[in-house]
Symmetry: C2
Subunit: 262 residues, 2 copies
Amino acid sequence: MITGMSPYDPSAFLPFAVTVDLVVLTVRGHALCALAVRRGEPPFEGRWALPGGFVRGEENLAEAAARELAEETGLCVQDPGSDAPTGTAHLEQLATYGDPGRDPRMRVVSVAHLALAPDLPAPRAGGDAEGARWAPVRDLLGEDLIGGDGARRDAEPPAPLAFDHARILADGVERARSKIEYSSLATAFCPSEFTVGELRRVYEAVWGVALDPRNFHRKVTGTPGFLVPSGGTTTRQGGRPAQLFRAGGATVLNPPMLRPEI
Amino acid sequence: MITGMSPYDPSAFLPFAVTVDLVVLTVRGHALCALAVRRGEPPFEGRWALPGGFVRGEENLAEAAARELAEETGLCVQDPGSDAPTGTAHLEQLATYGDPGRDPRMRVVSVAHLALAPDLPAPRAGGDAEGARWAPVRDLLGEDLIGGDGARRDAEPPAPLAFDHARILADGVERARSKIEYSSLATAFCPSEFTVGELRRVYEAVWGVALDPRNFHRKVTGTPGFLVPSGGTTTRQGGRPAQLFRAGGATVLNPPMLRPEI
DNA sequence: ATCATAGTCGTCTGCCTGACGATAAACAGT
DNA sequence: ACTGTTTATCGTCAGGCAGACGACTATGAT
């Protein structure tokens, strides 16, 4: 910009298409899953891809991502302060991908966003017959996560995601794995009321490790502002009734929940 | 994308201008400083702004940021493996800013990057007479950093940065403050050989706090892979000669350098 | 010689962590 | 009713790391 030419020399201007792509993560069963949509047209027709779409003229990037998320899942973005009973998700910007050849048709810069959602009944196929699904991240990336139980190695031939979406997904998963260490974001994977065991299973699914229930319980209940008891109990997991909690006001965890090494 | 319209419906396509903006940080004296350029034309003529420019057709986002950085400072991006003797910097993508009104002339999406550089003699005014300068972050943001020494409160009337660059700078500074906790990035602010005291002054300048020299020395020399002794000593800081170190191979610090609370 | 400055090595105490024993409260099956 | 299984929750103990701070060392300045 400080070179000889003017910062806004028209000869330097090149039009780009700008899209938002979404890495929507949830925990289903004991697996970290991502939302994938099947492409209905070339390129990569029939392959799975991350949901996304163009940014419209009047909206900013976060609004575009929230709109796409609502279209795909019906989820609303979690506003700080509002506490909608269901259907809220955490949404944050992830990174931007703009390599010249990433879309063979035109120069597309995609601002990827990361959304964390509690387990939903089923992805809302928003009018597209091709459909959407929750797919285990392990299957989508064709890799074995650390600490995997070794089963279900033959589920689906790992057709790679379209475009550079495998890298975007990998970046989003790594962001989620890292962020639940020092923030209370893991509660975004849980319903409004949850037990310590359910929260532990979220950490185990995202990190792909087994955690000691006793130490986890001590840490998570001892971190100020992380969890507040809601009064009730539940036996939906079997065994002894467990105390129900809600997410506390803290956003950063002090001390953090450090992920075990190796 | 899964709505009724096709994912690439031309009616949804809207051309954007895509730029890269740079938050270039360095430590000069005892202050964290950022590179600022003075705008030579409207809008915001005469105001300070972050360096940046358009992404060209054949380059990706990282290449565009590296080119802008080289044009402004002469710095090369630190390749993993190559160890150029001088003039290398760390460069990473920061975030993307695309609010509709952020540039009054047209819809501009700016992919901001964060660069960390050792102290340089002077910013290279790359042909633009308006010039560039290293400005203390405190002055650019018009805020008092935590632990500031209370002096120099009257240096410059805090004319705010152009566009939304104050927010971009604030995000970059917060990223730097956070990243030197759990990565070895603080060495990017140091020359190739440095002492423990110089590294400590980097942490103190970035965080705006005072650190105990004895505990810092113990931590930093005890973290495996962080520092490797280069053999020499120096007295350039006065006092007893200090051992010289180079950055070790580690990129993540274990245990991390936790920033003191409050 | 003395002081000021900066670097380096130790010590001590408290907190956090991982490993793991023990108890409690539900359900399933006999 | 009893037993086994599952999950939750409380405790204990040893090791590691962090903050607070004392002590000593090696240089330059006065």
